[in-house]
């Protein structure tokens, strides 16, 4: 790591759509291997912030450096070798197996026609082992449960060999068992492969279970930032999510 300050360095980042700014003047740093949860109400800027890191939407101001490199200067191919994503949305392609889905994570490493080499197959098998999805390999992605599907999408992200894993509300709609399986796999990944995890998430129980640190967002700004036990107090959660205050 060329920048000792952090693996991810966000400096005065502003992001938005067109002329409207959703996230403004935001700065924070994340260490390598750290699991950071972004929490906040819907519309607080969590997903927008993550989209700016994946370069899905351009910055309106500021800079983002990952592993010492300014991401605005990195190609899509370079970005793909640094970070992988898991989101809520489902893959809807018919006759597309879980193995095919995980194999798509090898895209940055395969040749012109995307033919898998022995090394790619090993990485795919390893990712499926780590997520407990080996038995789903030949099943179609449209024929499995939401929970199984998200584990397959996590395997796809792991097969991409990222240094940074971006999770955008990945456990929405999952049952408790699959939420826990997902969380445990992410924790193991961060620990064993030193992968940094930045996630937007609503389930505070999962945040307590898997995150090292919480960044709470409110109206596109950082409201608080610190270790999970310091931030997620009952009182602060009530205040952040305005619990007990319902507009008529």
């Amino acid at each position: 790591m060329s920048d000792t300050a952090g693996f991810i360095n966000m400096e005065q980042v502003s992001v938005g759509y067109g002329s409207s700014t959703v996230v403004s003047d935001m700065s924070f740093r994340v260490r390598r291997g750290e699991i950071v949860a972004l929490i906040g109400e819907n519309g607080s800027g969590k997903s927008t912030l993550l989209k700016s890191i994946t370069k899905e939407i351009p910055l309106l101001g500021g800079s983002i450096r990952i592993d010492g490199r300014d991401i605005s200067r990195l190609s899509a191919h370079d970005i793909a070798r640094i970070m992988a994503i898991v989101m809520t949305g489902a893959v809807r392609t018919d006759y597309f197996t879980c193995y095919d889905t995980v194999a798509s994570g090898r895209y940055p490493y395969t040749g012109r026609l995307g033919k898998l080499r022995e090394e790619d197959r090993q990485k795919i098998d390893e990712a499926m082992r780590l997520t407990g999805t080996v038995e789903l390999a030949d099943r179609y992605i449209t024929d499995i449960s939401d929970g199984q599907r998200q584990l397959v999408m996590l395997a796809r992200a792991i097969a991409q060999e990222p240094m940074l894993l971006i999770l955008d509300e990945p456990t929405n709609f999952l049952d408790i068992r699959h939420k826990m399986l997902f969380a445990n796999t992410v924790k193991e990944l961060a620990l064993s492969k030193n992968v940094t995890v930045l996630m937007s998430i609503h389930e505070l129980e999962l945040v307590r279970d898997m995150a090292d640190r919480v960044i709470a967002l409110k109206d596109g700004k950082i409201d608080s930032d610190g270790p999970v036990k310091d931030i997620l107090t009952d009182e602060y959660v009530k205040q952040l999510f305005r619990l007990g205050i319902y507009p008529r």
Partner: protein, 322 residues
């Protein structure tokens, strides 16, 4: 799985060989006829090759459109792209013939490509306003109707001597092809299919969704542009040489997915080509022979077999896409 695919490829290839032989051998002229070999060489062989090459192209074009729209009932005919190509080609033919200029094969393809391009841009603009598969398809069918009506209007006012050929062509037909046309069509189709093969890798990633594809390094804008370019080239080539042919582009990719039990582009592009070739050879045989010597339009036959597949998709998995 692999064994199933090999067997499916062998079955398709053997079907094509069988249908190709039937296409050349069957007809009203018998081997005793002194002109039999001339008929085979200058009429039946080019026609058989046209059905094979253009049928394959149409199915590959349909598959690429389905990838583009993430929609299993997208196809050049259903989305009005073939009819757009037909309209501009008919306009170009008539306007130039009126001035005594004969449009070359390349000119035909260019006119057809322009029409396909205009229709594609129109349908793209509609697709931005709706994510619903059925609405998009309905809009495409309406676009097709508009283009077909305008074509009929144009043909009605064309000179008498232009009408006969134009009328046949605008209904869709592999008749009237010569070897020179076949060679030209083959060159364009090979170029298009090769372009499709070069897209195998990003298509595989795109099948997981646009955001996931972007996250593995696919430049979505460039990819989508190439996809629509290749698809338009293939469907425009078919329309230029054989007119609009219905439902092949929708039905064949669906049937191939079911036969091969995969959506992977490395398998689907060759499978669609072979499937489209077999489907069109079979349909053309029926069009020629069912009521010989009267010929049916090829679209009348492909619709009978292809339209039920579209209904099947809409009733089944299509509901997931609403």
């Amino acid at each position: 799985m692999k064994k199933r695919r090999i067997i499916a490829y062998i079955i398709l290839t053997l079907s094509i060989v069988f249908l190709a032989v039937l296409s050349v051998m069957l007809g009203t002229a018998s081997p005793d006829d002194p002109s039999f070999f001339i008929i085979i060489k200058s009429i039946r062989l080019p026609r058989m090759l046209a059905a094979l090459i253009l049928g394959g192209a149409l199915a590959v074009s349909g598959y690429l459109l389905q990838v583009f729209f993430g929609n299993p009932i997208a196809g050049p005919f259903v989305l009005g792209i073939s009819s757009g190509a037909k309209l501009v080609t008919a306009l170009a033919l008539i306007l130039l013939l009126d001035r005594g200029i004969h449009l070359s094969a390349i000119g035909l393809v260019l006119a057809s490509f322009t029409g396909a391009g205009i229709a594609t841009v129109t349908i793209l603009m509609i697709s931005r306003r709706t994510r619903r598969m059925s609405v998009l398809v309905l809009a495409g069918v309406m676009l097709g109707y508009i283009c077909s009506s305008l074509t009929d209007f144009v043909i009605t006012f064309a000179d008498d001597h232009n009408i006969v050929n134009l009328h046949n062509w605008s209904m869709g037909s592999f008749s009237g092809m010569n070897m020179q046309g076949v060679m030209m069509a083959a060159a364009l189709v090979v170029t298009g299919v090769f372009g499709g093969v070069l897209l195998i890798k990003p298509i595989g990633a795109y099948l997981t969704g646009e955001e996931y594809a972007r996250s593995v390094g696919v430049d979505i804008r460039v990819f989508r542009f190439r996809l629509i370019l290749v698809s338009s080239l293939l469907s425009a080539t078919v329309t230029a040489f054989a007119g609009p042919i219905s439902f092949v582009g929708v039905a064949v990719p669906h049937l191939m997915r079911r036969l091969f039990r995969t959506s992977l582009p490395g398998c689907m592009i060759p499978a669609c080509f072979l499937g489209g070739a077999a489907f069109c050879l079979f349909s053309d045989l029926i069009a020629r022979l069912a009521f010989a010597p009267t010929e049916l339009s090829i679209s009348a036959v492909t619709a009978i077999f292809g339209a039920p597949v579209v209904i099947m998709v809409l009733m089944g998995r299509g509901q997931h896409y609403e």
